[in-house]
């Protein structure tokens, strides 16, 4: 058995001169839950499409389960399961028929197929809905069915492209639990793309932050957050701000001190325990604290730190765009 499920070296994809994926390199060890985090258009889906042989590479190499994605496409295909961003189910077939179609496309024998289809249906709690046409499924059920389908042929690597996009909070939680359990119980390597910070934080052992086709950082969520130096405590002060600031700069447990107008921002470990002390100290130095704000660092801050932009700004504009294109599509279909 190879140690690495995925090995990527300087992988690049250009579309008419536009570089969607720009010379990325990474490895994913067997059994890891690896996340690609980035705004829409960062190149996550293009990366997945290249790794799953749907898109040819412009340059660079990628190996999946020991097979080159450009040279040994069928071997790669046999070893991966993919859950695409957009639903890819035949809605005129039942849930079970979709799974059986998949099993037969992957060359599974009749007996094995029957057993395995039942098994994955149980895994995602869809046994009772197996005989229902997929057009009658809810969004969450469709997603679960697709995850089950990705596992039917026992792939070594499972790709999940934005698995919870467009699902409500509760359903998202369910999907997260399934994904986590799959990874732990089935020893399948999972590569997941997302632009939800909480999702990457909750699920992934390791994250690559992607922006404009490049990896800007890659580490575990905790280590990425630690780079920022702990919690941020902001004090809004009235009075002699300069004195307070110089006093605080002397303290070793405060990592950084910055002043924006009347607001003093401090970074430290376990900020919630230090707040009373900070307020006392301000008063002793001739200033009144009129407002306190504590913020635990999130991956959002990490993203901001590396790219200089917030992922949420971009998300908002993207959602608006999606709505418009959806409206266009519905109009066409009448």
């Amino acid at each position: 058995m190879k140690d690495y499920a995925i090995k990527v070296h300087k992988l690049t994809r250009k579309f008419n001169g536009l570089t969607a994926v720009d010379s990325i390199s990474f490895t994913v060890p067997n059994g890891e839950l690896f996340g690609l985090l980035g705004p829409n258009g960062a190149g996550k889906t293009t990366t997945i499409n290249m790794l799953s042989t749907l898109l040819s590479t412009t340059s660079g190499q990628a190996e999946l389960a020991g097979f080159d994605v450009s040279k040994h496409r069928d071997e790669v295909r046999q070893n991966i399961g993919v859950v695409f961003q957009e639903p890819a189910l035949d809605t005129k077939l039942t849930g079970k028929e979709n799974l059986e179609f998949h099993a037969m496309m992957y060359g599974m024998g009749k007996k094995e197929r029957k057993e395995r289809v039942q098994e994955v249906l149980r895994l995602v709690d869809l046994t009772e809905k197996a005989g229902v046409l997929v057009e009658n499924y809810s969004g969450g059920m469709k997603r679960r069915l697709e995850i089950a389908r990705g596992l039917v042929h026992r792939p070594k690597v499972l790709f999940l492209d934005e698995p919870t996009l467009g699902l409500d909070i509760q359903t998202r939680r369910y999907i997260w639990d399934y994904v986590k359990r799959l990874n732990q119980e089935n020893e399948v390597t999972i590569v997941l793309t997302t632009h939800y910070m909480e999702e990457a934080d909750f699920l992934c052992e390791r994250i690559a932050i992607m922006d404009y086709g490049k990896f800007v950082a890659m580490d575990s969520p905790d280590k990425l957050k630690n780079i920022l130096g702990g919690d941020v405590v902001s004090l809004e002060l009235e009075g002699d701000v300069q004195d307070v600031m110089s006093r605080m700069k002397e303290l070793s447990w405060i990592h950084t001190v910055t002043l924006h107008g009347e607001v003093l921002s401090l970074t430290m470990e376990s900020g919630e325990r230090k707040i009373p002390q900070l307020i006392n100290m301000a008063q002793q130095n001739g200033a009144q604290v009129s407002c306190v704000h504590l913020r635990k660092p999130s991956l959002d801050d990490v993203f901001l730190h590396y790219t200089g932009r917030s992922i949420r700004d971009q998300e908002a504009t993207q959602i608006e765009k999606n709505r418009q294109s959806l409206r266009g599509r519905m109009g066409r279909r009448r």
Partner: protein, 253 residues
């Protein structure tokens, strides 16, 4: 492994076909209306170039069979676009199956549904007084129907592979399918065309398909049935080859 893939692709087409009752009704309605109204409306008409003993309805049935196969088969090939639109094409393309078997699966599925529709139309035309000379001619007719179907599924695949979405569908319908239909002589003998239009109709595969069907079912045709057969074999091989080639080259995402 690949045999199972062809089978399951075929099976999927069958299930979708049987479940889409309204689609079957829609696909049958047009040829049957053509057959009924043209057949009744032109019953007493003698078309120049048509042999005197043949009723117009006799002349029309092979043409309507050809028309039904032209439409259903081209749509069958174009249905790749629907799979693309609804995302299912990715599920097919990411499977470890050689692309040529995916094409073969689609052709077998499309041919089967096309043939089922043809048999239904043939059944209705029997009720309307159409007569089939012998079992052998019926088998020859089925061979022609098969080749017409394969040819136009191939054509549909070529268009589907070159188009991004279903937007271009009506263009194909109006600028490809209808001209092919009218040029084929399905409704009238091509002998009435001016010579330059006849030359264009020589490029239309359906010309030989419909003529072959007339040779088989009526024993009356412009060319010999052997010539029609050779032309249809050539067209169907070419279209399947090109369809498979463009499908292989097209990118799914």
């Amino acid at each position: 492994m690949n045999r199972a893939a062809v089978y399951v692709l075929w099976l999927r087409e069958m299930k979708r076909f049987i479940r889409a009752k309204s689609r079957i009704a829609g696909a049958l309605a047009m040829p049957l209306f053509f057959l009924a109204f043209l057949g009744i409306g032109f019953k007493r008409i003698s078309v120049p170039g048509m042999s005197g003993q043949v009723d117009y309805i006799q002349f029309l049935v092979p043409g309507i069979l050809g028309m039904s196969l032209l439409f259903s088969s081209t749509f069958g090939g174009l249905s790749v676009l629907w799979d693309k639109e609804f995302g299912f094409l990715k599920e097919i393309m990411v499977a470890p199956v050689k692309r040529i078997f995916i094409v073969v699966g689609r052709i077998t599925g499309g041919v089967t549904t096309g043939m089922i529709q043809s048999v239904l139309i043939l059944g209705v035309s029997l009720l309307m007084g159409f007569r089939i000379p012998s079992v052998f001619t019926l088998l020859l007719a089925f061979l022609f129907m098969f080749l017409i179907s394969v040819t136009f599924i191939g054509l549909g695949l070529i268009f589907a592979s070159r188009m991004k979405d279903i937007q271009g569908f009506s263009i194909v319908m109006n600028f490809v399918i209808f001209p092919l239909f009218f040029l084929s002589g399905a409704l009238y003998p091509l002998e009435n065309f001016p010579f330059w239009l006849r030359y264009i109709s020589y490029l239309d595969p359906l010309t030989y398909g419909v003529d072959g069907l007339r040779a088989a079912l009526l024993g009356f045709s412009s060319y010999s049935s052997i010539f029609d057969l050779v032309m249809m074999l050539a067209f169907s091989s070419l279209m399947v080859f090109l369809g498979a080639y463009f499908f292989e080259k097209s990118e799914t995402v």
